[in-house]
């Protein structure tokens, strides 16, 4: 199966191109910047990006409304909406997702997050702890699936009850799916179980390929995919890539250098995956190309493949061998890195995939 690449949507306040710490993003990303974001979507279409991840956070615009506005002005790119279970009823959620799917001509998939900050969840009236959130999300998705199967829905669970529920607006999908592709984020056992039970793909933060391989097994055995959140720093030479990487954490505008803010954020988080990536960042290089140096400043998704287009492509292919088939990528600056990725890295990935396939076939023929 060819690897699929998704990219994080450009946020409001980001198009200056400078890397922003989490703390700074909280301050500036509240407003959509439609013109720049539509342009970003069009570039993503040209770059061979499958979908754009639209975050959910109290500090950002609502992903459903934002994706609607972006969707009516684009034609190919898909939208991966981040969604959580404690803020909306499954019926209302399905109706919004289905309506968005109709409005965009079938370009919607979902990134289900359990939520990583108990404080933020209380803003929304959600007081459940980590494991209960997964239990509720499981029920939430069970109800959603019932609506996507069609007909009248009856459900009686611990967190949700539905009596004669109906959503008449259908889910429309370009690929003919009857329900959206569900990416389930998280690295805890609860997240893995949720992905196996309700999802299409388990999304986790990157790690070394060996470690990914072990964790991926139960998910792959259940017939589900494995995906990684990862950043990319690709430059014509390794020296340039390293320079770009180190410049992210050195010599920045002091206002942007806020590892204290990130540390504060981590203390308040009860996300196991964010904590484990944060611990990984103790050692800067996990493999010759996998760099954790930016994690402490920019958060867990900043674990990055760094190097030449060949290095990065090889790194991605290596993940592919470990069982990974989907990637949600980002870079600094987001737009320029995506364009460079689409032009220089992606063609190499496709060529290497074809070569692997060829080798696989000749091995199979040789063995026959």
């Amino acid at each position: 199966m060819p690897l699929k690449f998704h990219w994080r949507l450009l946020q409001g306040g980001e198009q200056g191109g400078v890397a922003m710490t989490k703390a700074l993003q909280l301050e500036v990303s509240a407003m959509p910047e439609l013109e720049a974001q539509v342009e970003f979507c069009r570039r993503a279409e040209e770059c061979g990006i499958d979908s754009l991840l639209v975050d959910i956070s109290f500090a950002k615009p609502d992903p459903v409304a934002l994706s609607t506005a972006l969707g009516v002005e684009t034609e190919k790119i898909r939208f991966m909406l981040a969604a959580r279970s404690g803020i909306i009823s499954p019926l209302h959620f399905v109706r919004q997702v289905n309506t968005l799917s109709v409005v965009t001509g079938g370009r919607v998939c979902l990134n289900i997050v359990a939520g990583h900050s108990p404080d933020e969840q209380k803003y929304y009236g959600d007081f459940l702890a980590h494991d209960e959130r997964y239990e509720r999300t499981d029920e939430f998705l069970a109800v959603c699936h019932a609506f996507w199967r069609g007909g009248e829905v009856e459900f009686e669970g611990k967190h949700f009850g539905v009596v004669k529920g109906r959503v008449d607006t259908p889910f429309v999908c370009r690929d003919g799916r009857a329900a959206p592709e569900l990416f389930i984020s998280g690295s805890s056992e609860a997240a893995v179980n949720l992905a196996v039970r309700q999802g299409s793909c388990w999304m986790r933060f990157a790690d070394s390929p060996e470690r990914i391989c072990g964790g991926a097994r139960p998910v792959l055995e259940a017939g589900k995919e494995v995906g990684l959140r990862l950043s990319v720093i690709a430059r014509p030479t390794r020296e340039e890539a390293l320079r770009a990487a180190y410049s992210l954490i050195k010599g920045l505008d002091p206002a942007r250098e806020d590892s204290g803010g990130e540390r504060r954020f981590m203390r308040q988080s009860d996300s196991q995956s964010m904590k484990s990536v944060y611990e990984l960042a103790e050692s800067q290089w996990l493999t010759p190309y996998l760099w954790a140096g930016a994690v402490r400043t920019y958060g867990a998704p900043a674990l990055a493949l760094v190097g030449t287009p060949e290095d990065v492509a090889a790194g991605l292919i290596e993940y592919g061998r470990a069982g990974v088939t989907q990637f949600i990528l980002a870079g600094w600056p987001k737009l320029e890195e995506m364009i460079y990725f689409g032009r220089e890295v992606l063609p190499l990935v496709r060529r290497m995939e074809a070569e692997e396939l060829g080798r696989g076939q000749s091995r199979a023929e040789g063995g026959a």
């Binding site: 909280l26 990303s29 509240a30 407003m31 959509p32 439609l34 109290f58 500090a59 950002k60 615009p61 609502d62 459903v64 409304a65 934002l66 609607t68 506005a69 969707g71 009516v72 002005e73 404690g86 803020i87 909306i88 009823s89 019926l91 209302h92 109706r95 919004q96 289905n98 309506t99 968005l100 109709v102 409005v103 404080d119 209380k122 803003y123 929304y124 009236g125 959600d126 007081f127 529920g165 109906r166 959503v167 008449d168 607006t169």
Partner: protein
């Protein structure tokens, strides 16, 4: 103080979404003097907020009255969705709260929390029977040149709806009654500063006979329909105005050109008569 009459058009159920067709209706309404298009909320229809944003991106000045009910969504997230929509379509968002079959107390709490976010006075804390919010924050503000929060319309005919409207809404929707009856019923609400609007079907044609024929042919002749010549409908609107009604939410067959009949036939007469009354 007299407010100019305002008109809203109820987007009728189109079956499956034909986005272009619905945009055409919105543009018609835009050009025919309507303030907003009402996007209803029920299981048979698309989601009103998503639809409002999708239609809003193809129009310029028409607003969208987005229906909502408590119980489906956290008030915090609702405010975040409405605020985001406002930022995407230049503040052209009204909210219509449906409180028919939902517990009144819950709707009351829901709107209390929403207003607390819209006041933007810092963290929102609320502890009620249905909702509990702790240190609530939403960064995306309601964006509009005119207002810091959306106009809230509230539907429901009973006394509880009236009490909720007085507390939370800028306008209460009523079903038609005789003007004298309405005058009596709505006086207390008007005194509290909440407007009253009329929810009514509309069949207006150049002549009364044509209107009756159109109403008869399409089954719009219910008791809640305004049916008549342009002149008659204009007079009826002004009669309602004289007892305190200041907004109208019309339902009708836009495929029969009802929006245009209103904009080209009725509205100029109403405005002319309003001017004459001022002189």
């Amino acid at each position: 103080m007299e407010r100019p009459l305002r008109y809203h058009w109820s987007l009728s159920h189109p079956g499956l979404l034909g986005l272009d067709a619905q945009r055409a209706v919105c543009r018609d309404a835009e050009e025919s003097g309507f303030d907003s298009v009402f996007v209803a909320d029920d299981h048979a229809r698309p989601d009103p907020l998503v639809l409002a944003v999708a239609l809003g991106r193809g129009t310029r000045s028409i607003k969208f009255m987005v229906a909502c009910r408590s119980g489906l969504i956290s008030p915090t997230y609702f405010v975040q969705q409405v605020n985001t929509a406002s930022a995407l379509i230049d503040g052209r968002v009204h909210v219509n709260v449906v409180c028919g079959r939902t517990p009144r107390e819950r709707t009351d709490e829901f709107l209390t929390v929403c207003h607390a976010f819209w006041r933007r006075e810092g963290e929102v804390n609320f502890r009620g029977k249905y909702y509990e919010i702790e240190k609530g924050r939403i960064h995306t503000p309601f964006v509009s040149r005119e207002r810091a929060a959306p106009e809230i319309f509230l539907g429901g005919d009973a006394a509880p709806a009236s009490a909720l409207a007085a507390k939370h809404a800028s306008c209460l929707w009523r079903l038609p009654a005789t003007p004298e009856r309405l005058r009596h019923d709505i006086a207390p609400l008007l005194r509290q500063g909440t407007e009253v609007g009329l929810l009514v079907s509309l069949v207006a044609r150049p002549t009364r006979r044509e209107a009756l024929e159109a109403a008869g042919a399409h089954g719009s002749g219910s008791a809640d329909a305004l049916v008549g010549s342009f002149e008659e409908v204009a007079d009826a609107l002004l009669t309602y105005k004289s007892v305190g009604v200041s907004q109208f939410l019309f339902a009708g067959r836009h495929d029969l050109g009802e929006i245009r009949f209103f904009g080209e036939g009725v509205l100029p007469l109403v405005r002319g008569k309003e001017r004459d009354a001022c002189l």
